[in-house]
């Protein structure tokens, strides 16, 4: 064991860690990690909402096929989804895709399945009587869903959504595999160039990920407490 760490490698490359070679080149590092996470979070929220509502549909065919899709995606590793997108997207679109789009597509599909489970649980957590009451006052089932069930259900889902966002931030590190220069990729580049500081470099980026993720984990816990407190009164 050689416990003499030299963290000067971090301070020398700090801008590269944070924003990549931007503004002279491509955006990278922490900034790109956050961009990937936020973009796929918004898209997978919509995807999850859609899939989640399909999975509580009263039509059996729709319900079963939505559940099958959700379970299939949850049953395979994210890395597989990324490879599938990497091969399929260019073939389907008929042109090459930028790697970051490939990764956003893969993260969206993968996370939508998990979001859908959260949405389903949230919808099922609202008593059925509310939907029945809404329908009997003359609302269309869709109106009952959008004006009565979802507004209450979504509020309860917020902590789980935030947790899912944390997983998403961690999952963006897999973009490394198709060569998107987010934080983990930048770290491997610097590691390949400097050769002798791997522990410092990877510990440093672990701390960065930790700071971002822990902030959101704490937020989700705080929201959870606040929500139960509001329900109690």
């Amino acid at each position: 064991m050689d416990l003499s760490f030299d963290f000067s490698v971090i301070s020398k490359n700090i801008t590269y860690f944070m924003i990549g070679s931007y503004p002279h080149g491509r955006l990278g590092g922490v900034a790109l990690t956050l961009y990937l996470a936020v973009a796929s979070c918004i898209l997978s929220f919509l995807g999850g909402l859609f899939l989640g509502m399909l999975s509580v549909s009263k039509f059996r065919v729709i319900r079963y096929s939505a559940t099958a899709v959700i379970n299939a995606v949850r049953g395979i590793p994210l890395l597989m989804v990324i490879f599938w997108m990497y091969f399929l997207l260019p073939a389907l679109m008929g042109r090459t895709m930028p790697e970051s789009r490939t990764v956003i597509a893969a993260l969206t599909i993968f996370t939508s399945a998990y979001m859908a489970e959260i949405v389903r649980a949230g919808i099922e957590g609202i008593p059925r009587g509310q939907t029945e009451a809404a329908i009997s006052t003359g609302l269309h089932p869709w109106q009952a869903m959008f004006y009565i069930v979802l507004p209450q259900g979504l509020r309860n889902m917020v902590p789980s959504f935030v947790n899912q966002f944390v997983s998403l931030i961690k999952d963006t590190s897999l973009a490394f595999i198709v060569g998107v220069s987010e934080l983990t990729h930048v770290a491997t580049q610097i590691n390949n160039r400097t050769m002798i500081y791997p522990a410092e470099i990877f510990f440093f980026i672990a701390v960065i990920y930790f700071i971002i993720c822990y902030a959101f984990t704490s937020l989700s816990r705080w929201l959870e407490k606040r929500l139960t407190w509001q329900k109690a009164i």
């Binding site: 049953g75 395979i76 890395l79 672990a206």
Partner: protein, 235 residues
């Protein structure tokens, strides 16, 4: 749309089939070794998290939060590239004589999964009534002995379904070991793709294997929930 000649024969027999099967074997090996170690480590961390000695509790808390809030891939790279800086020399030498990539993957997967398992065990322990601990302590057991004989045997039984879920996550996460060159299923599928350009076939095969594992294990959890857990909770 897709203009592609599928050739399934290439992956259902011969050399490439053997590669994929070797990958399945390595994936299972990696997952089983890691889940056993992660369970033991998770048990220790869970008990430390509930300890009455505050420094031990804080250490366990920091460990849990740090490992759960950093990406597995970064942890894999840390142990693979950085182990010679942080582990004692004799351990490194021993790991190199064995299979270093595999060992680094096992270390990272074990540490990452142990944090999730520790949280599962802790919530299992919470579902055991407090009075049992108090009764055990007042009849003369120490904290560790009451954990060992009274609380944990019951808690672990309740924790088994989430534990199996963690095993499932671990199997899926083990695909990340390909980044450091462990020849598991995803790595072999990629290998077949680069030798034959038959990417769709190779990744379909790998996807089916992962899906099959997930479905079988999920079915087992359902059976356990219905048969075993009903009797434990029904007492």
């Amino acid at each position: 749309m897709l203009n592609y000649d599928f050739d399934w024969a290439i992956i259902t027999s011969g050399r490439y089939f053997e590669w994929l099967m070797a990958g399945v074997y390595t994936t299972v090996q990696l997952s089983v070794v890691s889940i056993v170690l992660a369970f033991l480590l998770g048990l220790i961390i869970a008990v430390m998290r509930m300890s009455h000695v505050s420094p031990i509790r804080w250490f366990a808390y920091a460990y849990l939060e740090f490992t759960r809030n950093t990406p597995l891939l970064v942890q894999i790279f840390f142990w693979y590239f950085g182990s010679y800086q942080v582990l004692p020399r004799f351990i490194n030498e021993w790991l190199v004589t064995w299979n270093f990539e595999f060992a680094a993957a096992v270390i990272a997967l074990t540490i990452y999964t142990s944090a999730f398992i520790a949280e599962d065990i802790r919530s299992g322990v919470r579902s055991i009534p407090r009075e049992q601990m108090e009764a055990a302590r007042s009849s003369g057991f120490t904290f560790l002995r009451s954990m060992q004989y009274i609380i944990l045997p019951q808690a672990v039984r309740i924790t088994i379904p989430p534990l199996i879920n963690q095993f499932l996550n671990l199997t899926k996460n083990s695909s990340l070991a390909m980044t450091i060159g462990v020849a598991e299923l995803t790595y072999q599928a990629r290998q077949v793709e680069s030798y034959t350009f038959k990417g769709y076939e190779a990744f379909t095969a790998a996807t089916i294997v992962y899906l099959g594992m997930s479905l079988v294990i999920a079915a087992l959890v359902n059976i356990y929930n219905r048969k075993v857990l009903a009797t434990v909770k029904g007492r």
